[in-house]
């Protein structure tokens, strides 16, 4: 038996180490569809509790939208459940091509290729378009999936300080001799909710002859006046060489992702990106749902406008209550607590008050920057936000952190 008791015990010890270090992830079981009001079983075996969800990536409230569900049903009926093939053998339907064209139009790019997830898009894109003569220069806070993609690529790699344009320029100068240079950033950073300075980055890339890559997973559908993303907000539509994004967040929330950008780069992905070549693409039912999502978002900005108003209301409420927030204007609103245990305690107490919001701490965020990451949705109504604000105030009062500065909170609870 290869999985001997000795081998088993080493894994058991590793799991115990995670538990002892407070790093063990415990899943909560949700007994309802994704929405602002969910029924959660937590801890495991407990009776379900109705809580307000303040931590979903369901930014536009489309995860359970009736029109999207109906379109998905129709897709299931007309195009079936699965493809049982990768794209280049017999796994490409007309609706896959249609979705690629619609995403291209929505993002204002030249071409698009679907991936099973944005994780896969990020894992596959760099290796497909770069080699050892090239360099990738990434913001230090990019998403883990980008880091995996960088690791899989033979090009040299360097980083620049988060959103620090002077440091980026130094790095572009340092690597001036490389054949190709790609600057890599998130559009909206998932943990801090801040926005990349894409206008400045485009200017630097033009100056130093570099390509620009932006992961728009936390932006597509709602950032910018018509929700096209960070590039719209920064006035650089058409100037981003590679965009990756997900359909697993605002754009319906099911699964799937894509690379969208320069025609030749997209074609290189179609020929060489391994997660594309060796995995089934997005299931027809999901493709049909995403097509409906894009139709809804192209017809009206109503949902992203409501999200913007909700975000402003939520941020103002928390600020007036005296919480320390990360600055920004996106629907990711981190409530800073700095201490890891405090973030867990506050999250637990919020749950008792009927609010579902998760604490994040090192190594997910830097040491001493523990927080509750709240995420606002267009599906939140004012009564959701008001109830959540009341709960935050009550719990904040219990821990005596309202009106306190960062230093005062750290003095009370440590880092």
């Amino acid at each position: 038996m290869s999985f001997s008791n000795t081998v088993r015990s080493t894994y058991q010890q590793q799991i115990k180490d995670l538990q002892d270090a407070g790093l063990f992830k415990q899943e909560r079981f949700i007994h309802s569809a994704q929405s602002p009001d969910i029924d959660v079983e937590y801890p495991v075996g407990a009776a379900t509790k109705k809580v307000i969800n303040m931590c979903a990536n369901n930014y536009l409230g489309l995860s359970s939208h009736p029109d999207v569900i109906k379109a998905a049903h129709e897709g299931l009926e007309t195009r079936g459940y699965g493809m049982s093939s990768v794209r280049f053998i017999c796994g490409t339907q007309d609706i896959h091509r249609e979705l690629e064209d619609k995403v291209t139009a929505f993002l204002g790019t030249e071409a698009t290729i679907l991936f099973p997830s944005c994780m896969d898009a990020n894992a596959g894109v760099f290796e497909a378009i770069l080699n050892k003569d090239d360099v990738m220069i990434s913001d230090r806070l990019v998403h883990a999936s980008i880091i995996d993609g960088i690791r899989l690529c033979s090009a040299e790699h360097d980083t620049f300080k988060h959103s620090n344009m002077e440091h980026l320029e130094e790095k572009l100068q340092l690597h001036a001799g490389k054949r190709r240079k790609v600057v890599i950033t998130d559009g909206v950073f998932s943990m801090d909710g801040d926005t990349a300075k894409l206008d400045e980055m485009v200017a630097l890339c033009e100056k130093y002859d570099a390509m620009l890559f932006v992961d728009e997973s936390h932006s597509s559908g709602f950032i910018g006046k018509t929700g096209r993303g960070t590039h719209e907000k920064c006035g650089v539509m058409g100037k981003i060489d590679i965009i990756t994004t997900t359909f697993g967040k605002a754009l319906g929330g099911a699964s799937g992702g894509c690379v969208s950008g320069r025609r030749e780069l997209v074609e290189m992905c179609r020929q060489k990106a391994r997660p594309y070549l060796f995995s089934n693409t997005i299931a027809p039912v999901v493709v049909s749902g995403v097509l409906k999502v894009l139709e809804i978002l192209s017809a009206t900005t109503e949902r992203r406008d409501k999200l913007e108003a909700n975000t402003a209301y939520w941020r103002k409420g928390l600020e007036e209550a005296g919480f320390v927030l990360k600055k920004g204007d996106t629907p990711i609103v981190p409530v800073m607590l700095f201490n890891a245990k405090l973030s867990q305690d506050v999250s637990r107490d919020l749950f008792a008050e009927g609010i579902y919001a998760i604490g994040f701490f090192f190594p997910v965020v830097p040491q001493g920057q523990a927080r509750i990451r709240t995420q606002i949705s267009a599906a939140h109504e004012r009564h959701h936000l008001d109830k959540a604000l009341d709960a935050f105030k009550k719990v904040g009062c219990k821990y005596n952190i309202l009106g306190k500065t960062k230093d005062e909170i750290i003095e009370m609870y440590g880092m």
């Binding site: 230090r140 880091i147 790699h157 300080k161 090192f362």
Partner: protein, 81 residues
């Protein structure tokens, strides 16, 4: 503090500290302390190799060996002739 320690300390401060009011010393834990992520160690290794005209094998450039300025200096000295 000798010259090599000064050079490495200054580089690490300039390259990795985000906040001007942050500070670090020669024994401050860099990687286990979350100041330098293991991914960003690459630029530090390249700096040391270029500056001191050495080649540090990948299996020696571990997060443990890079975890403080003093440890980095000790590692570099092994390869400087």
């Amino acid at each position: 503090m000798d010259d090599m320690t000064k050079v490495v300390l200054e580089y690490v401060k300039a390259e990795y500290l985000e906040d001007e009011d942050e500070d670090l010393g020669v024994n401050t834990p860099l990687i286990s302390g979350g100041i330098v992520d293991s991914f960003s160690m690459v630029s530090l290794k390249r700096f040391l190799e270029n500056k001191y005209k050495i080649s540090i094998p990948d299996d020696k450039a571990t997060p443990e060996a890079f975890d403080s300025v003093n440890k980095i200096v000790a590692l570099v000295r092994e390869y400087v002739k």
